[in-house]
Symmetry: C2
Subunit: 337 residues, 2 copies
Amino acid sequence: MDAFGGDYAPLEVIKGAVAAAKELSDEIILVGKEDEIRSVLQSENVPEGLVSIRHAEEVIGTDEHPVAAIRAKKNSSLMVALKMVKDKEADAVVSAGNTGAYLAGAFRVLGRIKGVKRPALTAVMPTITDKISVILDVGANADCKPFQLVQFAHMGAIYAENVLGIKNPRVALLNIGAEEAKGNALTKETYALLKETKLNFIGNVEPRNVLLGEADVIVSDGFTGNVVIKSIEGTAGALFKMLKEVFYKNLGTKLAAGVLKPGLKTVKNKLDYSEYGGVPLLGVDGVVFKSHGTADAKTIKNAILVANDYYKAGITEKIKELVATEQDDSAEETEMA
Amino acid sequence: MDAFGGDYAPLEVIKGAVAAAKELSDEIILVGKEDEIRSVLQSENVPEGLVSIRHAEEVIGTDEHPVAAIRAKKNSSLMVALKMVKDKEADAVVSAGNTGAYLAGAFRVLGRIKGVKRPALTAVMPTITDKISVILDVGANADCKPFQLVQFAHMGAIYAENVLGIKNPRVALLNIGAEEAKGNALTKETYALLKETKLNFIGNVEPRNVLLGEADVIVSDGFTGNVVIKSIEGTAGALFKMLKEVFYKNLGTKLAAGVLKPGLKTVKNKLDYSEYGGVPLLGVDGVVFKSHGTADAKTIKNAILVANDYYKAGITEKIKELVATEQDDSAEETEMA
């Protein structure tokens, strides 16, 4: 656990890691400035030996230039934590820090799984149904090629099946129309390729239906995927802001809002994807989870738990098997075309 | 007015046109099957002479293939209405019908303003402030080049200034990060070009901030713009669906919801962009307004009123002046580059 990544690091991160350690039998290693970590553990009355510490002197800030930061700060909590996975001193890494630096660092330190063209940042989306959906890529690759999206689809399906327990997940392409002929050059070509795979491809899903739970895995280039999750987040935020004004208008509305509070809280939590803790960078050679920059202790705890599930489900190995077999042919062919 | 376009045509369309005719001194011509229009006017007790009728035998359905439909149905209400603008028998056209057919028909019948590379469908977005924002393109061009986005910016600024009355409108580029270096190849190149214009360019706006009113004009390729407005629409819809469940849970919540109803209604209306009636296709040589497929009478009325404002503000002429002067140089240079 990168103890110094995220807006509320190190306090909330350490508290979250401690909460996770209480639920798991596995060792949790906090990476960062040892004396600061020790002082937090002490003030929180954490029993000796519940978590381990690995010292790392430097910290990469949220606003630092990703590539410059990972070059300059080899002893940062983020880079040291990644290195530990590379050196098999840790099985998974979680950070709520600088996304760009984390992605760039993961590429550099761990590298891609052989055969994977581009790793993809993978978000878990709430829906109005009981199910959740997986959407990828949501920001690791702003410009994508069709065969990369096909790989994202495969990796997303493996994730949905093995971590979320969804049998034969329904895979859809994010597009601006339901029909096959709709979209831009990228989505049209990707549609044609997805039809040829063995995936349970159900066609296009429109942005307005993302929250309806029509698909288990939603595939997109990183630019569009990021636009969708940020639009949803922004709209929910703006709406709750406006609702708050309605609720606080006068005594009558305040009392009424009080009655509705438990239900409203449930709705808010459901749309808050940080509730799901963290999301994996699928396709790198190691278990790399990203938690939200604004993660609090609860979010960090959830991120560690889900990273643990992911590691135990052997997703990295499953992706390796996949690219070693059926995927290779079609991807290579497309690349040459 | 294309009387046979939209899910609730012809009844709601005719009622909307009649409502607009009562507010305007200008002539409103309903285009479509004359006998059906007459029978609606009669059953609605519309005074003789309040609206005119132009007969058109055919109707283009929502699900018809755009290009095939406009080729096959030259006598459709949609094509006849467009032709009337071309022939100066009408000053503006409004339709709630098949978007693709309408766009394709407008290109074919009216053509582009000379110098405009691509016309752009332009939406008006509500914000949590008192202001509204203009966003374009939201679906006419799925694949765009940087210089096209620069033209969209210019056309959007003319619209915001002359129709919405926003002086020196703040123009922003829709992007997945606030910093200049963020985004995909298209946004990075567009950012560099926008900096060189005389527009009041304020940089990137992130999808999560679209509803905050940070910019007056938001520029995007048609794919991403469509994704954003549909994501916002979908999220608001899903949220209100979930809220409804909270409100109808039991007698207590129903009573509480009753107290909050007026305020909630205001919020819902604010986020419902169909409240703004219709949006122009900027860059075609004529005034072409698109209303939502689900438009009811009120929406149609608003669409006609805003199309009328737009016509009277002489936007088409202003765009012609613009492309004739400063715009030409930079656009041509970029195209050759």
